[in-house]
Subunit: 219 residues, 2 copies
Amino acid sequence: MTTSLAEENYLKIIYRLCEGTKEDISTNSIAELTNNKAASVTDMLQKLAEKGWVTYQKYQGVRLTKIGESIALSIIRKHRLWEVFLVEKLGYNWDEVHEIAEQLEHIESETLINKLDSFLDFPKIDPHGDPIPSQEGEIPELGYLHLSEVKLNETCTLMGVAKDSAVFLQLLTKLNLSLGARLEVVEINTFDRSVSLKIAEEKPIFISYEVAKNILVKI
Amino acid sequence: MTTSLAEENYLKIIYRLCEGTKEDISTNSIAELTNNKAASVTDMLQKLAEKGWVTYQKYQGVRLTKIGESIALSIIRKHRLWEVFLVEKLGYNWDEVHEIAEQLEHIESETLINKLDSFLDFPKIDPHGDPIPSQEGEIPELGYLHLSEVKLNETCTLMGVAKDSAVFLQLLTKLNLSLGARLEVVEINTFDRSVSLKIAEEKPIFISYEVAKNILVKI
DNA sequence: ATTAATTTTTAGTCTAGTCTAAAAATTAAT
DNA sequence: ATTAATTTTTAGACTAGACTAAAAATTAAT
């Protein structure tokens, strides 16, 4: 069965919301991320349920079915592979690629995405450190922690980000925080959970909890 | 102003029809190429005229305005650059890329297409020998002839095709006719205008007028 | 355990882009 | 120069996907 652009965007966003939780997903939370009104979302959920891509109970929220999940994963795979292309081959920065990949992820061609994968040398992660699902829909488990969970005086490596909005990525760039950086947590303020970090041997920088939470690291 | 997918497809097709002729373009001819009904075409022509992309007189056909033409050219530029990418970088054959490029040509990003251009080393022609419009909408004039116009016993070089349907391209491939081949016209049948060709020093092959007409050559 | 607040759904409307059927204009044919 | 055939346009209807406003269900608060 074929998927429209609108349907693909819904499935992708429902997937993202499912990831965090075992709870069913609320209409409102979808409305927020799709920038649609709740009424429109209800409409679409009924269509998606009709097609067998979500299980949906009136007033009780929604979840992806196996098929729905595999459609979502294939879109995410395409999105992330195109991001690798844009950064590695065309020379974009990591904060510039999201919008373009949002368009490219809807190009429909099985062979295209596999040839692209091969051209890029089968990358496992995208430019933000997010794992790239395989053709079969397997996501390499990377076991990263949020920087906000790292203990005082521990050292870790910046492996990715949990959010890829341009402003956030630009902030990291300004702070000299890039993939692979070695970070030592030299101070944690219990009051607001903000953190001081040493990058390599530089003098410490200060980041808020909000930022620390969205940085993924490996110990 | 922004262009919808449907609008872009109409403009592209009107451009192609304008190319051949100084006459205004008929509703029916557009209907045929867009695979829409004439009534739908009329509707769209009125919208395009409204936006200033075509001049349109009821019952008198349609032409692109300067702006309409530049939109069409930018889509054609994108289409052809993506085709080069698909063939040169991803290893597709020339008869496999049209459908995918039809999708990619609608990706909207000024920077993307220029970075792609640079990544591909500023190609002047696509995998079918068609010229790639510049960012400013200039089309390199290649001065090619149709093979059907070549005189008896003349020798020429295959530079491109005037039609890029998969079946046609596959036929050429089967006949060993590829870009750059040296062709000698050894016989022209006045009855049906079919042609016998020698490719390099091989024994002659026979092609119909229909095929010869769609092969572009340089003397 | 009611009432109030919030969330979700229904009902009805809108737009873009398509369609069919019928009317109008143009072109071709006698 | 009429009539016939063809092309094009109008009119009205449909679908996908969005919206607003109002109704219904759920959740929270007293």
